[in-house]
């Protein structure tokens, strides 16, 4: 394809050099596509975005807390014919209505065999009951303690912001009752087999 007439070779050479430059650019851009991978990784690191190991602080905040009021909550523990030790870890605390609070009760079995118990809550004044909302409680199900076991059990609750103004102290009292026969035959078994009450 050499055509010396009319300077064909000159224009062919020019075309060829343009061709080479454009092909090189195309290959460079192919590499650029791959270079974007580490580039984005670095960029995300520097800007601290897309960091999957970071703690998610975007959990919804409780905006219903009424910080203008304080309510004293007292915790009480009773046993009904049960050879256990049962007491709140904290005796009482001051909370704001709407605030989610977690406290713990401690229970231990002094008997030499497994015992199943069921805790029943009660409130003083009893009018406070409908404003006292428990999210988590050991009283939601029967508790089976093996011989000599000690257990800490949480209660998560909030006092509703609509609590009447005249109630300033609420006493939460639990009474543990033995669930007879629930663990008599099969001590290790969970309380789910037990007959209710």
């Amino acid at each position: 394809m050499t055509h010396p007439e009319q300077g064909g070779t000159v224009s062919e050479r020019r075309n060829r050099s343009t061709l080479v430059r454009l092909i090189v650019s195309a290959f460079l851009m192919f590499g650029f596509g791959y270079a974007l991978v580490p580039f984005y990784e670095k960029l995300c690191q520097v800007l601290d975005v897309n960091n999957l190991n970071k703690q998610d602080n975007s959990l919804p905040l409780n905006t219903q807390v009424d910080r203008s009021r304080s309510v004293t909550v007292e915790f009480d523990a009773n046993l009904h014919k049960l050879p256990w030790n049962f007491k709140p870890v904290t005796g009482s605390m001051v909370v704001h209505p709407g605030e989610v609070v977690t406290i713990e009760y401690e229970v231990s079995n002094t008997r030499q065999n497994a015992v199943t118990g069921q805790a029943i809550p009660s409130y003083t004044p009893s009018a406070a009951m409908q404003y006292f909302q428990k999210m988590e409680c050991f009283c939601f199900k029967q508790q089976t303690l093996s011989a000599g076991e000690v257990r800490r059990m949480p209660v998560a609750f909030l006092v509703s912001p609509s609590l009447p103004k005249d109630i300033n102290t609420i006493t939460l009292s639990y009474t543990f009752f033995e669930v007879p026969g629930a663990t008599a035959s099969v001590p290790a078994r969970d309380a789910s087999t037990g007959a209710g009450g």
Partner: protein, 528 residues
């Protein structure tokens, strides 16, 4: 061979040696032959992709599942997108470039005639790969044309075929673009400076640079998918520490310039047609060049507006929102320039002009819905809804396709030597514009009401608009056959076309006889 700038008798020698029959087309290095093949190929793919669109619209005619199962439906949306973008619109404009650029700048042929032949003949294998993937076990790629992982990392062999098809189409368009850039930079007639080139050449120069810059990035992205699928890499596979969102960033770094790769040559065609039928030179030539260049440059820095919902920081969303809105400025310059070209012009409304005005009107509408989508807060509601579908069909169909029709009607006399049937052409235009709006205008409402795209079924409240849209789609599809009739009639015969059948047309392409002889400008013309 055809690139030889020798005397006329020299070229005639070659004519005698030319193979005949099918081998003439397989071995041809003539830019006009190759241009015609590109145009026929793209029209064939347009019909194939159109049939797929009609399958989609048939399924969506009524709520519930009637025509295809959901998996096939997803394959239809995917292949429709890939075929229309890479198989129909892009090759159509490459066809225009092949035919018209040498004629417009007074060159005898494209710079690399043999490579030109290759870039065309890569297209049919890619088309076969794409369409035949419907028949393999598991069916064709069904991830949407954007080929997002993790779906694309999981699918069957149809996905591999789509990836290879994209590779081949990419190589083809890169080679075509290299050819166009070289031709435009080195082979202009003496006296034709860059700022004297017809605007169609300018738009293609910019487009070709865009193709060379971003098609390799797409090739890289799909290669990463391929190695994730088969070679144990984890670019996008979250189980191996990869990130699917990374793909979206890489894809849209290609994808947004790609939108302009489709639109900018369309601007070029319209910039040739509107002055011709306004009988005035193009208003603001230099500002058109600068506006087109700024659109091209801006297209590289706005990609993430396609992915506002991936959870990017607010600062990122604001940046991409404002950068995207910035594009409205150069685009506005272009629209006002076209309107100003028509202002006080001696207008006549032949089919090319009708399609150009249709383009101007509907493309601007699509631009406005794009501006709506550029707003992050709005886009989060509209993301992946039919509003987006309506938006990009306004810019792709009413934009690129209408412009391609304008160009085809404008240059048909030059290509065939006959005038086309003006009555049929006008019928084609009016059917197209009515059915187009019937199909896509209602989709704005569907999107605003919350209908998601790429789902084969929908809630009952969307039923009426979908039925209207489907009827429009079938009408639009059938009206395109009118164009086929016009072209066939025009090739067979009709009123003889003079060298310059449009009295307002300007440019070197109108100095050669109609039909343009096989070899033109073997001695470069003198450009005043």
């Amino acid at each position: 061979m055809a690139a030889i700038p020798g005397g006329a008798d020299h070229a005639h020698d070659h004519d005698h040696h030319q193979p005949s029959g099918i081998m003439r087309w397989v071995t041809t290095t003539n830019h006009k032959d190759i241009g015609s093949m590109y145009l026929w190929f793209s029209f064939a793919m347009f019909l194939v992709g159109g049939v797929m669109a009609l399958v989609i619209r048939a399924e969506l005619f009524q709520p519930g599942l009637q025509v295809v199962d959901p998996d096939r439906f997803n394959q239809m949306t995917t292949l429709h997108g890939l075929i229309m973008v890479f198989g129909a619109i892009m090759p159509a404009f490459v066809g225009f470039a092949n035919w018209m650029i040498p004629l417009m700048i007074g060159a005898s042929d494209m710079a690399f005639a043999r490579m030109n032949n290759w870039s065309f003949w890569l297209l049919p294998p890619a088309a076969i790969l794409l369409t035949s993937s419907l028949l393999v076990p598991g069916g064709a790629a069904a991830s949407g044309w954007t080929l997002y992982p993790p779906l694309t990392v999981q699918m069957g062999i149809g996905m591999d075929m789509a990836i290879f098809a994209v590779h081949i189409l990419g190589i083809s368009s890169i080679m075509g673009s290299i050819n166009i850039v070289t031709t435009l930079l080195n082979m202009r007639a003496p006296g034709m400076t860059l700022m004297k080139m017809p605007l169609f050449c300018w738009t293609w120069l910019i487009t070709a640079y865009l193709v060379i810059a971003v098609m390799p990035v797409l090739a890289g992205a799909v290669t990463m998918i391929l190695t994730d699928r088969h070679f144990g890499t984890s670019f996008f596979n979250a189980a191996g520490g990869g990130d699917p969102v990374l793909y979206q960033h890489i894809f849209w770094f290609f994808g947004h310039p790609e939108v302009y790769i489709i639109a900018i040559p369309a601007f070029g065609v319209v910039s040739q047609v509107i002055p011709a039928f306004s009988r005035k030179p193009l208003f603001g030539y230099a500002s058109m060049v600068y506006a087109t260049s700024s659109i091209a440059i801006l297209s590289f820095i706005v990609w993430a507006h396609h992915m506002y919902t991936v959870g990017m920081p607010v600062a990122g969303q604001l940046y991409f929102m404002f950068a995207t809105m910035l594009i409205a400025i150069p685009t506005g310059v272009k629209v006002f320039n076209w309107v100003a070209t028509m202002w006080r012009g001696s207008l006549s409304f032949e089919t090319p002009m009708l399609f150009s005005i249709g383009f101007l009107f509907l493309f601007t509408l699509g631009g406005f819905s794009g501006l709506v989508l550029s707003m992050t807060a709005v886009d989060i509601q509209l993301h992946d809804s039919y509003y987006v579908v309506a938006h990009f069909h306004y810019v792709m169909v009413a934009g690129a396709l209408f412009s391609a029709y304008a160009g085809a009607y404008y240059w048909l006399p030059k290509w065939t030597g006959h005038m086309y049937d003006e009555k049929l052409g006008k019928l084609h235009f009016w059917l197209s514009i009515v059915f187009f709006n019937m199909t896509f205008f209602v989709q704005h409402f569907l999107g605003l009401a919350g209908m998601p795209r790429r789902i084969p079924d929908y809630s009952l409240q969307f039923a009426e608009f979908n039925m209207i849209s489907s009827i429009g789609a079938f009408g639009f599809g059938l009206s395109q056959l009118v164009f086929l009739v016009v072209v066939l009639k025009c090739i067979k015969g009709g009123e003889k076309a003079s060298a310059k059948p449009w009295d307002g047309a300007e440019g070197l392409e109108w100095t050669v006889p109609s039909p343009a002889p096989h070899h033109t400008f073997e001695t470069p013309p003198v450009f005043k």
